[in-house]
Amino acid sequence: MTGEDPGPLVRLFGLTGGRARPAGETFDLVAIVTTVSTPVQPAELIPEHFAVLTLCRMPTPVADVAAHLKLPLNITRVILGDLRREGLVTIDRPRPAAQTIDERIYREVLHGLRSL
């Protein structure tokens, strides 16, 4: 790192080409991001893209990706939207919690909490 940071906003919107909204369907804070593939011509990727693709080899929620990149959520989402458009990650469709938690998961969660 040399010299002064030109200012966080300049840098942040540089990452997204000035966009504040991600491409394609919107996704939730806890939607799960999973890396599909890492391109063979990495020169076209910015470091943040690489960081996401490395992190999300293990399925990772969006909020964790933002914290890991130390970037605001909406900037993170634009980056994730781009990666999804390129077919490099999948982002699972948010589902209402009540529909995703069956009896088995419910028991698991309660047991997990109690044994913390």
């Binding site: 906003l9 942040l12 504040a20 394609g24 369907e25 939730d28 804070l29 806890v30 799960i32 999973t34 399925p59 929620p61 909020a63 964790d64 933002a66 914290a67 970037l71 605001p72 959520l73 909406n74 900037i75 993170t76 999804r84 458009r85 077919g87 999948t90 982002i91 699972d92 469709r93 948010p94 589902r95 209402p96 919690a97 009540a98 995703t100 938690i101 998961i105 419910y106 698991e108 969660v109 309660l110 997990g112 909490l113 109690r114 913390l116």
Partner: protein
């Protein structure tokens, strides 16, 4: 591209799942402390950049230029097992960030409304919010040092709550106490009944 069309019949036992729980309540009531007490990691911090659209609800008369500001968002994580997590999101305490709640609340399993009996009115907006949207919530009365212990029934009456949402006394600094609040919420949200 992206993902296949959803097929409800398909069993996806192996898919990862992050369960979202909101921690709401007035400013300084102990939301961040509660997240920190139970989270396996130091609460993570991220920010949301707000354009003038979001700030417009605030009183910024006289300010004409576009404004970008940020709202801090702290959250914690509890790993139940690989691929199954609980995420606790502290909601922004300031009224002008209400619009962010809508996004936070999407798909949430439920919410903890933290209350301080010395300033009970500060949790009214959160109670109203979750009631109107049909999001299950419990009211957790944080028993600060020196704060008088209150009868949960009195708190219920003061809040104008029906007989359904559980009310628990807690100490947000105490791990067992926070676990108790969360298990009460999850049981209530899943079974639709109070644990007790």
């Amino acid at each position: 591209m992206g993902y296949a069309a959803s097929e409800p019949d398909t069993t996806e036992a192996a898919s990862a799942l992050a369960i979202k729980i909101l921690i709401a309540g007035g400013f300084g009531v102990g939301k961040t402390t509660m997240v920190g007490t139970i989270s396996e990691i130091r609460p993570l911090h991220t920010e949301e950049l707000l354009s003038e659209r979001g700030v417009g609800v605030d009183d910024i008369s006289g300010v004409e230029s576009k404004i970008t500001t940020t709202v801090a968002l702290d959250f914690g994580r509890i790993t139940i097992r690989e691929g199954l997590w609980l995420y606790l999101f502290g909601t922004p305490g300031q009224d002008r960030f209400w619009f962010m709640w809508d996004e936070l609340a999407v798909g949430a399993l439920g919410a903890v409304v933290l209350a301080d009996t010395r300033r009970l009115q500060e949790c009214f907006p959160a109670v109203d919010y979750f009631e109107q949207r049909g999001i299950p919530f419990v009211v957790a009365v944080n028993c600060f040092d020196g704060a008088r212990r209150h009868d949960p029934d009195k708190v219920r009456r003061a809040l104008g709550l029906g007989g359904v949402a559980p009310i628990v006394l807690c100490d947000v600094r105490d791990r067992e106490s926070v676990k108790d609040v969360l298990t009460t919420l999850i049981t209530y949200a899943v079974e639709g009944v109070s644990k007790d």
